[in-house]
Point group: C2
């Protein structure tokens, strides 16, 4: 019997990579034969967190084999998961997203909670199973919470995330605010990134009604680092829309200091997407004041607006 | 704001009815404004349990309104749920079935575990939330576990179900084996049922690949109580298949004393269904030795066999 693979979504972010490592640790403590793996490159922010707490990135896999036993963390929608997931056996899911395009033929352990971060749920699972959280594992969970909640400022952030963050910072022996800002800035450093890189860094596929869309998000300290190259960006998005037969590519740049976003939308549903936010496309941009959360402030709006 | 409705599946069984009552109780203890309701008639077995522990059946509802806030127990597939569920807001799901044909636009609390009964999960939730289980609520949960596991004999029954059952019997102040058998026998008393009643008593809709199917199950002490009227039964199933455009009606009679089942299948996929079990249709019947669980021994086989 091969090991059970634990992994998060494609184009992995900090919550996805660390949650795979953390949940694999917990399952191992409970006697399971599991391995954390990843479906894509580790971004700068995650690399910063892994280095800080002394972890290597999990092994990269291309897809999963038919019949393989897997545990999904930080996602459930099959189009965001590993190649071949439809033919795998999903044993467990630990997630904090909407549920869609997911199905199994057998009962499973599925634990989703409407909190800001998968790590907040994992922290509970350590307690429920009576397993102590080591300092370096606490550091990974704290990193995930800081990343997903933009240092507790996102509207997705719940009291449970704040409490878990405080608890975990203590165990990890770091100052959450200081460490967190350093980590976010490492992630928002786009100087070594091409526009192609930015397109896939944190892109997720969605189906909104009959429409096929990609919603990508990048964090920046200065949004002009990205949008200064708008013409080139639109050309790349247009190509991606054509290549992948999309109805919409919704590319969001989030200002992590001011907690606002600006989007560039391409595809037949671009106007409709702007309208869904009660906004207009001005100079090719859609202003999204106060919007920082794809999950809570973007996906539900597009789901309703494009159906 | 109207109350949040808590309900189980159509053609309710004991786990569905009692789980709605029990989870509504827990949520009320936690300060939520919720009401348990039901989507269909209460069967004889459930009526026996409700009377034993002093409960009225929950209010019957036809469907839910657009935007209504709901909590689903003991199911997640929309075709097994309330009319209008697609337009409702599902806040939570507590379930122990496979996940399919379920989706939301927002994150939610979704707790599914591969155990024999929803009540086993609810018993944990009382503990996790630090709420004491009253004796009558314990009686309802015990009834659900006995029903879903056929007195701990079904292959769906896990150690967790056995442990919860023992714990709850103690709190409820009853002997699990003695009370359980009396309850199962009350449910298997088919003397006041027409064949039409039996068809819908515990029927659930499924999609197996491209095929639309209904899988119904009735418990009996003597299967000839039902199959003695086989010709009439086949005529009814045939009409149901035509009326509802089904590819398969798979009607299962389970012998609760010997823990075997016999099925009658009607529709274009009837032969394929028998073949999925490595069986043949003999005198219009498919023998299913050792099969008692729709979830674990029937649905997965049909899912694989008809895809």
């Amino acid at each position: 019997m091969s090991k059970v693979l634990v992994f998060g979504h494609q184009n992995p972010d900090t919550d996805t990579i660390t949650s795979a490592l953390v949940y694999a640790h917990l399952k191992q403590q409970l006697g399971a034969d599991v391995e954390a793996v990843r479906l894509g490159e580790v971004n700068n922010e995650t690399a910063f967190a892994l280095e800080k707490f002394g972890f290597e990135a999990p092994r990269l896999v291309e897809g999963v084999e038919a019949g393989a036993e897997v545990i999904l963390v930080d996602h459930n929608e099959f189009q965001q998961s590993a190649k071949g997931i439809e033919e795998a056996r999903v044993l467990e899911v630990i997630d904090h997203h909407r549920i869609a395009n997911f199905q199994t033929s057998d009962p499973l352990y599925f634990r989703a909670e409407p909190v800001g971060c998968t790590a907040t749920i994992l922290n509970k699972l350590y307690k429920e199973n009576g397993v102590e959280v080591p300092a370096n594992i606490a550091g990974l969970m704290l990193s995930a919470i800081v990343s997903d909640t933009l240092l507790f400022k996102s509207p997705t952030c719940t009291d449970q995330d704040v409490q878990a963050g405080e608890e975990l910072a203590k165990i990890a022996g770091v100052d959450a605010a200081e460490y967190g800002l350093a980590m976010l800035k490492a992630g928002a450093d786009l100087s070594d990134k091409s526009l192609e890189d930015l397109l896939s860094l944190d892109a997720k596929g969605f189906e909104f009604g009959a429409y096929k869309a990609t919603v990508a998000q990048v964090n920046a300290v200065d949004i002009e680092d990205v949008l200064g190259r708008q013409e080139e960006l639109v050309a790349l998005l247009t190509k991606d829309v054509a290549d992948n037969n999309l109805d919409l590519f919704f590319f969001v740049v989030t200002d992590i200091l001011n907690n606002d976003s600006t989007a560039v939308a391409v595809g037949a549903q671009a106007e409709a997407a702007a309208k869904a936010f009660g906004a207009e496309i001005v100079d090719g941009r859609i202003a999204l004041p106060g919007v920082v959360s794809r999950k809570k402030q973007i996906v539900p709006v597009l789901t309703d607006g494009l159906k």
